[in-house]
């Protein structure tokens, strides 16, 4: 027996299941890559993930409804070919459209302290405008296949629906893993969308050919023009910056830039999903202290405060390009033997850092743990460390919860030797920043000791400092003999630049694995930032 328009019944099953499989794969690949596409502008925080997932789910449910409506028509396979082709073309156009919309919702050079609300609403609007249409089209696919299947094979609707759902979900499974581990890292974002969209268009054309309905796809030609337009996948760097390397890892967009107009010799910066005036690592031609405005200089405190130590073993969570190591190594006394381990989650960051930013490759003094999560490193570290640096947070919006809770800081404390130091960099708008205070309270609770909060002069950062069963020195009384560092200490000694946070009385006020409302704290921090900049609120 043949189907309604000449396709054999067994072929309908194979073709239908294959289409459902490919549509499912494209949907999940598109969803995962969508976050990556938005990340250079809006970050990849839980808020952005929530917005993208929400948009995709809304679009799919709408697509199911529309598919159900069109399934009642005389020729559902014609709609099916159009839905596949339109969805494919819109998906392929996504990189270009994201760049266009994101620039509209996130003006160039917008400072982080003016971005209150922009990340939430901007990412939602961009995700909606770019991904709602193709996902609606893809949502139509399953009900249309079920209808085609039941009409051609006389199968029960439940039976056809079960097969189609199974094939679609298996496709989604494949799309999930292939997008993250193969397509995005090897092809990049633009080509990933082109491939995913292209496959759908091809399938749509095949369906149209089987029904001799190819002319019905002509209305999609303008969409094809949009999809082949040159796409911009990341925000352009600032004019005074030269891009040395740029790539997509399995986790994020990574770029190394050189600030050619900064001082006499060029400095280099590692940027990760960066859209604001920020960076993740910095490299200066000479190791050692950087200069005003760089929080890394405060990581040299343990070495300069205890210069008589013969050995010091350092752990770095969020190694990045190894700036913390380079600063500390550059100021240590010649008599001090410095060794360390650095955990960096993204192997591409390590690769770029070793190529462009002098991150040691040999592993003799600094062991680089590439692709290792910070908490996993703490759980499996072979030996205790004298200094633990936590530099794994990005702006106010992307703080990994598992690296901010009481359980994490307790793990940190357990890994420290007696008298060991913990230093953590936190973005903040003044000492009373709610996010900074919550982190400091939690750290104090874990160490059962006072935590010192030092604001970084000329920067919107603060460093949390705690010691295991030892006192953190008072910046007003500490003299290290290093002229630049002592000048930094004098600036921090001002009452407005440092404070001490004692362990909280109320256990509820600390962040825990079970409950760490970092997104809400980050939003409050950004909301407060503008008021601080205007002088309405004390920093």
């Amino acid at each position: 027996m043949t189907g309604l328009t000449g396709v054999h019944r067994p072929h309908v099953r194979v073709l239908g299941a294959s289409i459902a499989f490919l549509a499912g794969a494209a949907t999940m690949a598109g969803e995962l890559a969508a976050v990556r596409l938005l990340a250079p502008w809006f970050g990849a925080s839980t808020i952005v993930w929530t917005n993208v997932i929400g948009v995709v789910l809304l679009a799919l449910s709408l697509g199911y409804l529309l598919g159900a409506r069109w399934a009642n028509g005389a020729a559902p396979w014609t709609v099916l070919s159009r839905a596949l082709s339109a969805g494919g073309l819109l998906l392929a156009a996504a990189p270009h459209l994201v760049a266009w919309y994101a620039q509209w919702f996130l003006p160039a050079n917008l400072a982080l302290d003016a971005a209150d609300g922009v990340l939430q609403w901007g990412s939602l609007a961009t995700a909606g405008l770019v991904f709602l249409p193709p996902m609606v089209a893809l949502g139509c696919v399953s009900p249309l296949i079920v209808e085609w299947w039941t009409r051609a094979t006389q199968a029960h609707a439940g039976s056809a629906g079960g097969f189609v759902l199974a094939a679609s979900t298996l496709g989604s499974l494949l799309g999930t893993f292939v997008a993250t581990h193969v397509l995005v890292p090897s092809l990049g974002l633009v080509l990933t969308f082109t491939v995913a969209g292209g496959v759908l268009v091809l399938v749509g054309v095949i369906v149209a050919l089987t029904q001799r309905q190819l002319l019905g796809l002509l209305w999609l030609v303008p969409l094809a023009g949009m999809a082949t337009h040159e796409a911009v996948a990341t925000p352009a760097p600032r004019p005074i910056v030269r891009v040395l390397a740029q790539g997509e890892s399995a986790l994020q967009s990574v770029r190394v830039v050189e600030q050619v107009a900064f001082g006499n010799a060029p400095w280099r910066f590692l940027q990760v999903n960066e859209s604001f005036d920020s960076f993740q690592s910095v490299w200066s031609p000479t190791p050692g202290l950087l200069s005003n405005g760089y929080y890394y200089d405060l990581f040299a405190l343990p070495v300069l405060a205890e210069p008589a130590r013969e050995r010091l073993h350092m752990g770095i969570i969020g190694l990045g390009a190894g700036t913390a190591w380079r600063v500390v190594d550059g100021v240590r006394p010649a008599s001090m033997q410095l060794t360390g381990e650095g955990a960096e989650l993204d192997p591409l960051v390590v690769e770029y850092a070793q190529t462009y930013l002098d991150l040691p490759r040999d592993g003799t003094r600094l062991r680089v743990l590439s692709g290792v999560d910070g908490r996993m490193y703490l759980q499996h570290a072979a030996r205790s460390v004298d200094v633990l640096v936590v530099d794994a947070y990005r702006n106010q919006t992307e703080i990994p919860a598992h690296l901010a809770t009481l359980e994490f800081w307790t793990l940190c404390q357990n890994r420290l030797t007696e008298g060991g130091w913990l230093l953590a960099n936190v973005g903040s708008f003044g000492l009373q920043d709610p996010l900074l205070q919550a982190l400091a309270r939690t750290l104090a609770q874990a160490f059962a000791a006072e935590v010192h909060v030092w604001r970084v002069p000329f920067a919107r950062n603060a460093v949390l400092i705690a010691r295991k069963h030892a006192q953190v020195p008072d910046p007003a009384h500490l003299v290290t003999g290093n002229e630049s560092f002592d000048a930094l200490l004098r600036a921090i000694a001002r009452p407005e630049m440092h404070c001490v946070v004692a362990p909280p009385v109320a256990f509820e006020s600390v962040l825990r694995d079970d409950c760490a409302p970092l997104e809400a704290l980050g939003a409050r921090s950004l909301s407060r930032a503008r008021a601080v900049a205007r002088g309405d609120v004390a920093p």
Binding site: L58, L62, L65, L66, A68, R69, A71, N72, G73, A74, W104, F105, L106, P107, L110, A111, D113, A114, A115, D116, G117, V118, W121, G122, L124, A125, T126, G128, L129, L132, V136, Q259, F262, D277, S278, S291, N292, G293, Y294, F429, G430, R455, V456, P457, F458, A459, R460, N461, R490, A491, R494, E496, M497, R530, V532, A533, R534, G535, A538, P539
Partner: protein
Amino acid sequence: MSWLVSAVLVCAASIHPQADPQAEAWQQRVYAAWTAGDLYTARQLALTAGVAHPDDALLAEYELQLAVALSDGQGAATALQRLKTSAPSTSAERLPALEAQVTELVARDGDGEQSVQRAQVACAALALVTLVLAWLGLAKATARPG
């Protein structure tokens, strides 16, 4: 961060504390916070001092430069007005350049808020389109063919 360093260095290079019997203590405090890299505190001190010494030209100048460094257009406009009143002769020479700078800042002042509003309007429009399409889908999805 580098924007903050650059802004402070540029501002600090252009401003030097002067002896002013009425407001010298405030000036010193603002300047000390400023040169220590604490722009936020310096700004707040300058604003507070401005209330107590509204005719002090140097404090108005501080307030203006800090507002510019922190990209606060409205604050810069207010400070510029104070500067014009407190030191008409000084400000007259630099007035065109300062006004141009402040005008640009004021224009960009609401960039963040406007972006949020644009995004909210887009989301509302999308929600409306979604509702209409859902209604269209529901209207016929349950009907039997023929």
